[in-house]
């Protein structure tokens, strides 16, 4: 999947919102940690989805609150990774 900011935002917001009624109001800026929406299952699912759809691989340093606090943080992280030279 191509990774332009708008497309990523729409995709990841939809991914989170479609998990159920508790998630329906999540926006780009919702603090997923403060609101308790980000549990380990959603974290795992997000990692799988991003790895599959955008061809990235997370390493342990990258699975942390600063990359997953809001969907916007995750979008920025994915864009940064995509633009970095692949090792």
């Amino acid at each position: 999947m191509t990774a332009d900011r708008k497309g990523l935002e729409v995709d990841l917001v939809h991914f989170v919102q479609s998990r159920g009624t508790r998630y329906a109001k999540a926006t780009l800026q919702t603090d997923l940690l403060e609101t308790g929406l980000l549990d380990s299952l959603l974290l795992m699912d997000l990692i799988f989805h991003i790895e599959d759809a955008y061809g990235l691989r997370f390493d342990s340093d990258q699975v942390n609150p600063s990359n997953f606090r809001t969907i916007e943080d995750t979008v920025s992280f994915v864009l940064k990774q995509k633009s970095a030279p692949q090792v």
């Binding site: 159920g20 380990s40 974290l43 790895e51 699975v63």
Partner: protein, 575 residues
């Protein structure tokens, strides 16, 4: 505020006023012959708890042997012996055994003073892991009532089913965990707040031994929840067995990620409280690296989790990179952890030990344990029965099979449930007249008495330690979409198990997959939601004209979205 004052509780007049209002409503309902509605109680506790002196490991009064025949009294005996020792620690501070005992008494007094109070009434707890949960749990038992724990994020239709089946008189929650829109009645409020030097007025509970203490709802084959009935004896016996198996000490500090409303989490609660140890409750353990940091910073001595969490800890948590000097042991249960991952965890946490355990809700919690030194010798084993438990592999007629023969794994012991709530047929299926529980797991025993699992005899699947029956998903879809036949097939995704939903039209009219997906997203919690929906012309059938689930499972690798259906190579990132 003095420490003594901190340790006390008071009932706010607000709660009393609410009770009076409730009494009026209840009386008018009784007069009109209608069933009284469920009362809702919200617990508030003071966030500014004074931290007690540092943990003193020498010279403490260790709790004596558990002599009482009910769990509530056993808790009080421990609480008296360990009064100033922290029972629970959160970000807000330490909650001593004395605090928890007084808070439990506050809950007990509330329940016992309610109009229409009867012993044996069910009390639902909708509380996340917190000092309030612990207080409400033992307070309910001390009031001679029965605890019905509900997961905080339980989906609404499931919640309604459990409330309908168990008919609780009271639902206890707190402002953070309670969704007001779920209920019509106005909540009462009880402040577990420390101010007056009010005496705790404890009378001995009347219920004991074989009396029902807890109803644990679990997945049923018909898509409706089944209530596992656990007695005081069940809970005490299993806690005692685990305490003989694991090196739980009174100065332990267990980092808890498992919800107390879950059988495994409940056994962590009971064993540590009955030993007089400390439970470390930290709300921010979503990230594998935060778990490892918390183990280090909070100087946790033990940790227990389901297999999926260990997979994440290995892959993203950098477990083992920095020493964890306080850690003494870890346990896994609630599903199968790949042997190579178990061995890797054991290696990374040395000299702490890793215990692979096996159990189920019907046996209170835990049945078997693989001693850490056997991990490399008995690859893939669930171990031997823990103290007080018998395990046997049996045939269809409940006759024990010889070693190395696969059959039904059966268990017997004082931890085996009383039966299923209001379901004698299911109880007869699960429990034999001589006390053997048919676990539903297929297994063999080796010549040395170690047991090995071979999958399920029925369709139940473990997802993140939760039991899910495919019928729950299929039933929901077929009820809402009568022209659709649905079959949920479990499939591996990485090291996780999730569902693919196969759909076929009954009347050749198109199936609205988008609507079906929306229904599942609305009604099912994330771990039960299908990862993918696949419409097929018709279902493959077995020779007996039943849907051939094995043939459907063979279709999964051909679905483009499921290309990651292989276990992850987690161990490539070993530190």
């Amino acid at each position: 505020m003095t420490r003594k004052a901190v340790g006390d509780l008071r009932l706010k007049s607000q709660a009393l006023q609410c009770n009076e209002a409730w009494l009026e409503i209840a009386n008018s309902q009784a007069a009109s012959g209608r069933r009284m509605s469920m009362d809702i109680l919200l617990l508030h506790s003071d966030a500014t708890v004074e931290t007690p002196p540092p943990v003193i490991t020498a010279g403490y009064r260790a709790p004596g042997p558990l002599t009482a025949t009910d769990l509530g009294t056993c808790f009080l005996d421990v609480a008296r012996a360990r009064s100033s020792h922290p029972a629970v620690m959160t970000k807000a501070g330490a909650f001593s055994y004395s605090w928890v005992a007084r808070a439990a008494d506050c809950v007990r007094r509330y329940l016992c003073s309610r109009p229409g109070y009867v012993a044996g009434a069910r009390v639902a707890l909708q509380l996340s892991n917190s000092p309030e949960y612990v207080a409400a749990f033992y307070g309910t038992l001390l009031a001679d009532c029965v605890v019905v724990p509900l997961p905080v994020s339980l989906e609404e239709h499931r919640r309604r089913q459990i409330i309908h089946l168990s008919q609780p008189d009271v639902l206890i929650s707190n402002p953070a965990d309670f969704n007001l829109s779920q209920e019509h009645s106005t909540p009462s409020t009880l402040h577990l707040l420390e101010q007056s030097a009010q005496q705790t007025l404890l009378s001995s509970p009347q219920r004991q031994n074989q009396d029902l203490a807890m109803l644990l709802f679990t997945s049923g084959s018909m898509g409706t929840p089944k209530g596992v009935m656990l007695s005081h004896r069940n809970l005490l016996a299993n806690a005692d067995s685990i305490l003989r198996e694991l090196p739980v000490r009174a100065d332990d500090r267990a980092l808890v990620v498992l919800p107390f409303c879950h059988a495994f989490g409940n056994s962590i609660l009971q064993t540590h409280i009955l030993r007089g140890a400390t439970l470390l409750l930290d709300q921010n353990l979503t990230f594998p690296s935060s778990i490892v940091e918390a183990l280090r910073e909070l100087e946790a001595t033990s940790f227990s989790a389901v297999p999926e969490v260990y997979g994440m800890l290995l892959k993203y948590g950098r477990l083992g990179e920095r020493p964890l000097p306080a850690l003494r042991y870890m346990t896994v249960a609630g599903g199968k952890l790949r042997h190579d991952l178990a061995a890797e965890i054991a290696r990374r946490i040395e000299p702490a030990t890793f215990h692979v355990m096996y159990g189920q809700s019907e046996a209170t919690a835990r049945l078997a344990s693989l001693p850490s030194q056997q991990l490399h010798v008995r690859s893939g084993s669930i171990g031997r029965p823990i103290w007080g438990v018998e395990l046997a592999v049996m045939d269809e007629s409940n006759r024990e099979l010889p070693a190395n023969t696969v059959g039904m794994l059966c268990a017997r012991g004082e931890n085996v449930m009383l039966g299923y709530w209001q379901d004698p047929a299911a109880t007869t299926d699960a429990l034999s007249s001589d006390g053997w529980l048919r676990t539903g797991d297929l297994a063999h025993r080796d010549k040395d008495g170690f047991f090995f699992l071979h999958g399920r005899a029925n369709l139940l699947v473990k997802v993140q330690g939760h039991r899910v029956h495919p019928a729950e998903i299929e039933g929901l879809v077929e009820a809402g979409f009568p022209n659709a036949s649905a079959v949920a097939i479990p499939t591996a995704r990485g090291d996780d198990i999730r569902f693919i939903l196969f759909l076929a039209s009954r009347d050749h009219l198109p199936i609205d997959v988008a609507k079906i997906r929306a229904t599942c997203q609305k009604e099912l919690p994330p771990y039960k939601q299908p990862l993918h929906y696949e419409v097929i012309e018709q279902f493959p059938l077995t020779s007996g004209h039943k849907i051939d689930r094995a043939a459907l499972a063979l279709l999964v690798p051909g679905i483009p979205d499921m290309r990651r259906a292989q276990p992850d190579d987690i161990l490539t990132q070993s530190p």
